[in-house]
């Protein structure tokens, strides 16, 4: 028998048991009122209880009808477990109302219905603030349904007064029957709660287990990534070594051999030496081409494949996909074409500054502009984020600064009103460095 099955049966059991209890208590109350009249003890009864009891028929009618409505609402609240908060609150309030109605009709002589409502509340609650509300509601319900606290005020007649007109043995029987119902109800409630909480506990356990597995996989992934990076580095080093060896080594060797030959030849045949030197020049030029080709391979992929402006636009587009911030790019330099190292510096500065803004500033807008004045190109990256009064120079900023210094430029930044980075680079116009 599955756990769900047991819970369902328990629930039906609780409904039926409470129905029986309500009928029994209301029935005995009704019967004893009529019995008191039959033995002509009405006046002393009234004098003893000091309140006017409900009409016998009203007791029976109200308690049964209110209880049935309570059951209907309880059922509906289970079927509508995924409905909105408002609907569920209304259902809960309705349940509490009918619970109070039934309990009042029973003159607070049976408080088991509170448990039924509490079970519904606990099943429906989803942690957090609701726990507090639940606590308040349960305390309130118990207060209201407790005879000793408010019974006199509501004109309730205690159980003992009702049954005091039966014989002693009948009284004992009735008292016992009622306490059996109360305890049975309690047992069923506890069982139900245990199963419910157990189910929840199992769910939590499963989630925890899955989380652990995920964690382990993550760690493994990190190790793999580190290894892969190391491998790539090694590979790259090997390639560089090979490249140097293959290009520079080869050329330098040729140059050395040619120069040695020239030293020997210069006195014998200056003509021949000249030829050789021309050849050496060719080899050197060839070597430079090779070196350039090698270096090209080390450039950022995007820049290698396309022009700077396009690359920037693409990069910013990619970035803006991953953030809520609105990025504007204002380029006043056309065509945006510089030396490779300059382009790379510009690209990296913009990339780094944008990343910083998103990561630290959390701004809504990032404004990027490039402008040119004489030989200086100025790049500004500004955001409206939270900025910072004291800028701690991290790796990114230092890296940018170094890169710019290398080109003869410099970097300025301030974080009082958002964060503003200004980079200036002197451009080597006309110093053609053809490729």
């Amino acid at each position: 028998m599955s756990r769900e099955n047991v819970i369902a049966k328990l629930q039906i059991g609780i409904y039926l048991l409470n129905f029986a209890a309500v009928c029994l208590v209301a029935g005995i109350m009704t019967y004893s009122l009529k019995e008191i009249v039959a033995v002509m003890d009405a006046k002393s009864f009234l004098k003893a209880v000091q309140v006017r009891p409900w009409r016998p028929d009203t007791i029976l009618f109200t308690s049964v009808v209110c209880y049935l409505f309570l059951v209907v609402l309880s059922g509906v609240s289970q079927l509508w477990e995924d409905k909105g908060k408002l609907v569920r609150s209304f259902l809960m309030i309705g349940e509490i109302g009918f619970c109070i109605g039934t309990t009042l009709a029973l003159n607070m002589n049976y408080d088991g219905l509170v448990l039924l409502v509490v079970a519904d509340m606990i099943r429906g609650q989803k942690g957090g603030k609701q726990k507090l509300i639940l606590l308040v509601a349960v305390t309130g319900l118990y207060t209201i349904t407790d005879y000793n606290l408010l019974g006199r005020y509501f004109g309730m007649v205690p159980w003992d007064s009702f049954i005091s007109y039966f014989s002693i043995s009948t009284q004992a029987l009735l008292r016992g029957t009622r306490s059996i119902f109360v305890s049975m109800n309690l047992v069923l409630f506890i069982l139900y709660m245990v199963l419910l909480i157990q189910g929840e506990h199992r769910e939590k356990e499963r989630i925890r287990f899955l989380n652990e597995q995920l964690e382990a996989a993550n760690i493994k992934m990190k190790a793999y990534a580190a290894e892969a990076e190391k491998n790539a580095e090694t590979r790259e080093r090997n390639r560089l070594a090979r490249e140097i060896h293959d290009t520079l080594g080869h050329v330098l060797t040729g140059i050395i051999a040619g120069i040695d030959a020239c030293i020997t030849l210069i006195d014998i045949s200056p003509e021949e030496t000249k030829n050789r030197l021309v050849k050496i020049g060719d080899v050197t030029r060839q070597g430079i081409t090779d070196v350039r080709r090698s270096v090209k391979k080390l450039r950022p992929d995007v820049l290698e494949k396309m022009e700077l402006e396009k690359a920037l636009t693409q990069m910013l587009q990619d970035v803006s996909h991953n953030t809520k911030a609105e990025i504007t790019f204002d380029n006043q330099v056309r065509p945006l074409k510089f030396h490779e190292d300059e382009e790379e510096a510009i690209y990296r500065v913009i990339q780094e500054a944008t990343t910083n803004s998103i990561r630290h500033g959390h701004g809504e807008r990032i404004m990027i502009s490039i402008e040119k004045k004489e030989k200086w190109v100025t790049i500004t990256v500004k955001d409206d984020g939270k900025g910072c009064d004291y800028v701690e120079q991290g790796f990114g900023l230092r890296h940018m600064e170094e890169r710019l210094k290398f080109l003869g430029g410099y970097l300025e930044y301030e974080g009082h009103n958002g964060f503003l980075i200004t980079a200036r680079i002197p451009i080597r116009w006309g110093e053609e460095y053809d490729s």
């Binding site: 009864f45 009234l46 209880v49 049935l68």
Partner: protein, 442 residues
């Protein structure tokens, strides 16, 4: 569909089915009930005042007929034949069965119980709304008797005050003039001293001054109320109380230890006896006058007044109230007004009941005076029956708080000890006041 859903659905269907069934039965029963608005009235047979009464239903039947004529579509029903001594139990039974009448007479001394158990309806609201109703029309003491904890729960139907019965024949024989309505304790004492004697000279006193004059009578006629209005404090330590007790003690000493009985009075051997007005109304006219007090001429005067106050007496009032769960609130109020407020009914009380109307205008009407005269042919014109109006006006209502009976029992016991000289009077009264106040605080 999960198992849980199954349980929920089963519960809903089951409960809804039973609910439908109940609704069907309920509607069916509603359809069977009639269209007339039925007002139920609760009353007992006989007189509230423990005197014989010929036809107690006539006055009610007349009132019902008038009421039904004025309010078409409304029928008034009552159960006849309930004896006064069974009435309290009958009413309690009806309350338990939830079938108490809409309007009913309140058994003696049960106002507090019925009001505190919320069986009676608080009338303050309807009284305020009803522009035709003026509580000033009632004798104050009668109206206030229906008040409990500042709320009016009942209206007075009829009242009875205490008067001093005088054996005229005895006074004549002794050559003493009939006391007037302004007589004092001293006059009372003097006459008692004069008449208390051994008439047949056999050594045993056989003619007495008074019978049944209690310390309560003395206290009231000395202008003292024993309790405050809401029954939370008592005034036994008052010096008027002490004066009253000294007076009663003096009276007792005249009898020289002989205990006068009701039989002595009936035989014409006692000059004075405080009696309820209902007795006067019963035994004065034919046919009852030949049954009792037939050996001597008698009449009544106001109680003698003490030095600190007028001749106040305690007013006993029959009350009527409305059930707090009546479905016909307006009609119940109208019907109660027909009985307790309408002059027609109150006038009819004069002819058919032994109580006093509670409406001032009726008591002071010429019809009433004429009736009293016709009932007592050949009576001494010196006694003006206008005193009835005065006595009613000056009367104090009987306290109706819950602990009144137990407080009075306690006081009575202690005071008889004082009268017998077993306890000191001045310190004893203060102690009694303390003890009763403590009891009232419970």
């Amino acid at each position: 569909m999960g198992k849980k859903q199954f349980a929920a659905r089963l519960a809903i269907i089951g409960a809804a089915a039973i609910l439908l069934l109940i609704a069907a039965v309920y509607l069916n029963r509603r359809r069977q009930s009639g269209e007339d608005e039925i007002l139920r009235f609760g009353m007992f047979a006989g007189s509230y005042w423990d005197v014989p009464n010929g036809n107690c239903y006539e006055i009610i039947d007349d009132a019902i007929a008038r009421f039904e004529k004025a309010h078409p579509g409304v029928k008034v029903e009552y159960v006849s034949g309930i004896l006064k001594e069974d009435y309290s139990e009958w009413l309690a039974e009806q309350v338990l069965l939830g079938k108490e009448p809409d309007v009913f007479l309140i058994p003696a001394g049960e106002l507090a119980t019925l009001a505190s158990s919320r069986i009676l309806k608080n009338l303050n609201g309807v009284i305020q709304k009803d522009k035709d109703f003026h509580k000033e029309s009632y004798y104050q003491a009668a109206y206030r008797y229906g008040n409990w904890k500042q709320k009016q729960y009942a209206l007075p139907y009829e009242s009875v005050t205490t008067l001093m019965f005088v054996n005229k024949t005895l006074l004549n024989n002794e050559g003493i003039a009939m006391p007037g309505n302004t007589w004092s304790w001293n006059d009372f004492l003097t006459i008692c001293r004069q008449v208390t004697k051994d008439t047949d000279h056999n050594g045993i006193t056989d003619q007495f001054g008074y019978y049944g004059y209690s310390w309560q009578d003395a206290a009231y006629s000395n202008g003292l109320s024993l309790f405050n209005e809401d029954g939370t404090a008592s005034y036994f330590g008052d010096e008027r109380m002490e004066a009253a007790l000294r007076f009663v003690k003096e009276l007792e000493e005249i009898n020289q230890g002989y205990t006068v009985t009701a039989k002595d009075f009936d035989k014409g051997k006692v000059a004075f006896r405080p009696l309820a007005f209902s007795e006067y109304r019963t035994y004065k006219p034919y046919p009852w006058r030949i049954k009792k007090y037939s050996d001597f001429e008698w009449d009544c005067v106001k109680m003698p007044s003490g030095p600190s106050g007028g001749s106040r007496t305690e007013l006993n009032t029959l009350l009527m109230g409305i059930s707090s769960r009546t479905n016909h609130e307006t009609m119940a109020w109208e019907f109660m007004k027909t009985l307790c407020y309408e002059e027609d009914t109150q006038l009819a009380l004069l002819q058919q009941s032994q109580g006093m109307p509670v409406i001032r205008k009726v008591t002071e009407s010429p019809q009433f005076q004429a009736l009293l005269k016709s009932e007592a042919p050949g009576r001494n014109a010196a006694v003006d029956m206008n005193i009835i109006g005065q006595v009613m006006e000056e009367a104090v209502e009987m306290p109706n708080f819950r602990l009144y009976p137990s407080a009075m029992t306690m006081a009575d016991g202690e005071i008889s000890r004082m009268l017998k000289g077993e306890a000191s009077m001045d310190s004893g009264l203060l102690k009694l006041q303390r003890e009763i106040n403590a009891l009232l605080k419970e």
